[in-house]
């Protein structure tokens, strides 16, 4: 029974009761608070001590968006350079990114451009990105003013939030916004450009259908 209970506790991971599955990735310099951000969102916990993430990790959370259940597989990446090979491997499947810097750490902000480049390089071309300036609870030590963050986000074409995993500010909002953006992209893709569906199907086994059913030419 213990096993059963345990399994029930982990239901989130094995739960199949969802409509869409989105893969998200959190990136940014080491110690900007990516892991804390994810823990706050997924488990609603916060730990002040810093433990560097080894390579990669992920958590699963199912959210509701309108009447749809969206299962999020959220990848937390190590900010450290030495894991870069591993982490960049996961850019490819990610539909959304949270690019994070630390408002009390100039270097982490300066690296945003580089991270954005990484995204462009390794991700699928229509991945959605939100820029998050974390640790906004530590206003005393702030070195990156919000305007700077906003300005950079505009330049890069990302949406921008200031967040705090510690004080639980804008954490849920960032994820929900990202899910929203992806959902919008999804319906745009499928509903306005059905050619991608019908055309794409040509390359898949989906075309194993009665021959009298022709494809749209595209």
């Amino acid at each position: 029974m213990a096993k059963a209970d345990q399994r029930f506790g982990q239901r989130d991971g094995s739960d199949q009761n969802f409509d869409y599955m989105f893969k998200l990735l959190i990136i940014g310099n080491s110690s900007v608070g990516k892991t804390s951000f994810l823990f706050r969102y997924a488990d609603d916990t916060f730990n002040n001590s810093f433990v560097s993430t080894v390579g990669i990790d992920f958590k699963v959370k199912t959210v509701y968006r309108n009447d749809k259940r969206v299962k999020l597989q959220i990848w937390d990446t190590a900010g450290q350079e030495r894991y870069r090979t591993i982490t960049t491997a996961y850019y490819r499947g990610a539909m959304g990114f949270i690019l994070m810097y630390d408002i009390t750490n100039e270097e982490s902000f300066n690296a945003v451009q580089d991270w954005a480049t990484q995204i462009k390089t390794y991700s699928w071309d229509n991945a959605q990105v939100i820029l998050a300036g974390n640790k906004c609870d530590m206003d005393d030590e702030r070195v990156v003013p919000p305007e700077k963050g906003r300005h950079l986000a505009e330049q890069l074409g990302f949406e921008y939030y200031e967040t705090s995993a510690k004080e639980n500010i804008n954490v849920r909002q960032v994820f929900e916004r990202l899910v929203d953006i992806i959902c919008v992209k999804m319906s745009e893709r499928v509903d306005t450009d059905p050619a991608i569906v019908t055309g794409g199907a040509k390359n898949t086994r989906l075309t194993d259908k009665p021959p009298q059913l022709p494809q749209n030419c595209c």
Binding site: M1, K3, A4, R7, F8, G13, S14, D15, Q16, F18, D19, Y20, M21, F22, V54, G55, I56, F58, E81, R82, R84, T85, I86, T88, A89, Y90, Y91, R92, G93, A94, M95, K120, T121, Y122, W124, N126, M186, S187, R189, V190, D191, T192, P194, I196, V197, T198, G200, A201, N203, T204, R205, L206, D208, K209, P210, Q212, L213, P214, Q215, N216
Partner: protein, 717 residues
């Protein structure tokens, strides 16, 4: 996209050493002693194929190696070259300086090698992700399969007929719409109205609508192609191949289930065996003999013991072999790696499944009779005829079963866990309309069912993970007992094989146009209500007379239409009532004129109707009146009048309840339908009452539709 990825790889890494990444084993091995680039610069990473890579790459995209390659193994191989070709190329392309990267590369070199613990952690994450991915692949596979099933069951040409249901379209036929995606015509029932992004209304056929949905659900919209997926079909394909091989084996062939129409005998077994109220298969009280005699000899030859087990058993063991082979990679990972979370899973499934589902093939009446007493395992052992080659095979299969059964069930766990939208299992059946004899033969072959705990998110606690499934048939619209047939219940199986033929008699050509066969699979449960698993519906107009049509349908949730169908007003029948208030006699004269199209409640396809009337509230319990019983008719003519002595003023407070019953000798009479007229009624019923009040001494005749709800309590006396 993939192409581009590969090209990029080629152009930037002209020295091909960069591309490889070890699979889990070698990564672990190398990680242990060999600090990757620095301490052993001469170590050449074992080149591995991309194929191996996919196995554990979480995102299942073929270009993954590109990303994972260069920094870790590429630039590490030669410590003194800072950025490699690829990095330079990238930077040139993106016009970012490379000084920063040089700095990073240097730092990175210092701390590049991954410790064994680190690798272990990463690998455990990767494996966890891989697990999730496998489940996901099965999910997508089911989506794809479902879509293909939809495509396959489309019967029309999309021009003059509805593409999906084949209904004739056009001026004289059904209204049609044009599907936006495939430009084919469908009837409005098979079309889905959607709003395009420009807020314009547009129609899609159900297939194209589903295809769009599959693209959303699978993530294909993002990756521009369907992600890797595993279709439930494959497992089935293996099984069916196995069973055809066996079919060709003459030794076994004799014990194969025989799909003949021995339904009458069958129904009797069922109804005597089962305590379930569904089993009132009143049809079997009709004219059973002709069929039983036809069936008898076969039955004798087959009842020589549970030899029907033989064909089932080997197919399990064989497919086990195939399946466990496909799992071997996973298994070997298990052995080489520390205990992982998924061990729980497998343990769990081992616990929760009783010995491999030795589903009785269900071709035998005799086995049905003995079924109650013995559990599946006992039956397997006890029924084996000794000294038989089949037996050896069966036992061989049985011997390997315990370790393998885990493997066998596993794909099912993933394959049939229920995503709401996807399959609740599948049902294999065939239908034949015998026009000459007005019979509809429904042969229920077999089903594949989901594991119960996935059905409703049930905790697996007290459940053995299996089901006791049976199949119910209804002809819709209409909800009388005569309308309901069921198979026997098979115990403890998710792969039930019934091979039973149930037959509806008295099916007319008109029925074939109007009616829909509902086939539902339920789980018999002694302690709780029988649980509904899933259903599928076949409009009978899809069938051609005297031509067997095979179906392999996904089960769906109970369709909400069901209720309205069952209550379907027309289907209870109609009644003509006359009302007159006679001021001379100071009485309400209620005339029961006739009924039409009454529901058939008896096995012979008719009813023996009579009508009762009450005027409520009924202080003295004297208001009951009954007509005579009209035998064996659905359109009885009564022409009887009843008098209720009542003051005109009191009439407004009264309600007239009229109910139609089917008279049965020896059992309680069946309720066919009823109607209430009065101030609280509505529509035609209210109007009739009003007109009666307004027009004293004038007889007003009206038709009313019977509903299957008892108008009030106490109607059953």
């Amino acid at each position: 996209m993939r192409e581009r990825g590969r090209q990029r790889l080629r152009s930037s890494n002209s020295d091909s050493r960069l591309v490889e990444i070890p699979d889990e084993h070698s990564l672990a091995i190398h990680g242990r002693g060999v600090h990757l680039p620095q301490t052993a610069p001469t170590v050449v990473q074992p080149p591995l194929t991309g194929e191996k890579l996919y196995r554990f790459s979480t995102l299942e995209l073929p270009d993954l190696p590109v990303a994972m390659t260069d920094t870790m193994f590429g630039s590490g191989n030669d410590q003194w070259i800072c950025p490699n070709d690829r990095q330079l190329a990238l930077r040139a392309k993106l016009q970012t300086g490379w000084s920063v990267h040089t700095y990073q590369t240097e730092r990175q070199r210092k701390s590049q090698s991954l410790q064994k613990q680190e690798l272990d952690i990463i690998l455990s994450v990767i494996r966890r992700a891989e697990q999730l991915d496998q489940v996901e692949q099965h999910r997508i596979g089911r989506l794809v399969e479902r879509l293909e099933n939809m495509c396959r069951s489309a019967v029309g040409n999309g021009l003059s007929q509805c593409l999906l249901c084949g209904e004739v379209l056009g001026l004289l036929g059904a209204p049609s719409v044009l599907c936006q995606d495939c430009s084919k015509k469908v009837c409005t029932k098979c079309g889905v109205e959607t709003v395009s992004s420009q807020r314009r209304l547009q129609w899609l056929c159900k297939i194209c609508s589903e295809r769009r949905e599959v693209w959303k659900r699978s993530g294909a919209w993002f990756y521009k192609a369907l992600p890797k997926h595993v279709r439930p079909m494959k497992e089935r394909a293996i099984e069916s191949r196995m069973s055809t091989e066996e079919r060709s084996d003459p030794k076994i062939a004799r014990s194969l289930p025989v799909n003949f129409t021995y339904k009458w005998a069958q129904s009797k077994v069922v109804s005597s065996e089962s305590e379930d109220s569904d089993s009132e298969v009143s049809v079997c009280s009709g004219e059973p003999k002709a069929f039983t005699s036809d069936f008898q000899p076969r039955r004798g030859s087959e009842s020589s013991g549970g030899s029907s087990l033989a064909p089932v058993q080997p197919s399990i063991s064989l497919s086990l072999a195939v399946l466990s082979e496909s799992h071997s990679s996973l298994a070997s990972e298990h052995s080489s790696l520390p205990p992982a979370p998924e061990d729980e899973d497998t343990d769990h499934s081992r616990l929760s499944h009783t010995p491999p589902a030795l589903s009785r093939t269900g071709s035998l009446r005799s086995s049905a009779a003995s079924q109650q007493s013995d559990g599946p395992a006992a039956a397997a052992a006890g029924d084996q005829p000794p000294g038989d080659e089949d037996l050896d095979r069966a036992f061989a299969g049985g011997a390997t079963a315990p370790p393998a059964s885990k493997r066998d069930e596993e794909p099912d766990v993933e394959g049939y866990d229920s995503d709401d939208s996807t399959t609740l299992g599948t049902l294999d059946f065939s239908l034949l309309y015998d026009q000459e004899n007005n019979a509809l033969h429904c042969t229920i072959n077999k089903a594949k069912l989901p594991i119960p705990r996935y059905r409703k998110g049930l905790k697996p606690m007290d459940h053995n993970g299996l089901s006791d499934p049976y199949v119910k048939l209804h002809l819709l619209p209409g909800a009388s007992k005569a309308n309901k047939l069921r198979t026997k219940t098979l115990r403890n199986t998710l792969n039930p094989v019934w091979s039973e033929t149930l037959t509806y008699y008295g099916i007319t050509d008109e029925d074939m146009v109007r009616k829909t066969l509902r086939i539902s699979v339920c789980d018999e449960d002694k302690f709780r209500h029988n649980e509904f698993i899933g259903e599928t519906r076949i409009p009978l107009k899809k069938l051609k007379p005297n031509q067997t049509k095979n179906f392999y349908n996904c089960l769906e949730k109970q369709l909400p239409i069901d209720k309205t169908d069952d209550k379907s007003l027309e289907e209870r029948g109609r009644i003509m009532i006359s009302l007159k208030y006679s001021s001379q006699k100071s009485a309400l004269v209620v005339g029961i004129v006739r009924c039409a199209h009454l529901a058939a409640m008896d096995a012979n396809g008719f009813s023996d109707p009579y009508v009762k009337t009450y005027l409520k509230p009924d202080e003295n319990k004297k208001s009951k009146h009954k007509t005579a019983v009209k035998k064996k008719t659905l359109n009885p003519e009564f022409n009887e009048e009843f008098f209720y002595d009542i003051k005109y003023a009191d009439l407004t407070k009264k309600t007239l309840e009229v109910t139609v019953w089917d008279y049965d000798i020896g059992k309680s009479n069946d309720f066919i339908g009823g109607v209430s007229l009065g101030i609280n009624a509505n529509g035609e019923r209210l109007k009739h009452w009003f007109d009666c009040l307004k027009n004293k001494d004038k007889k007003i005749e009206r038709w009313h539709t019977l509903t299957n709800e008892l108008p009030g309590s106490g109607m059953n006396d």
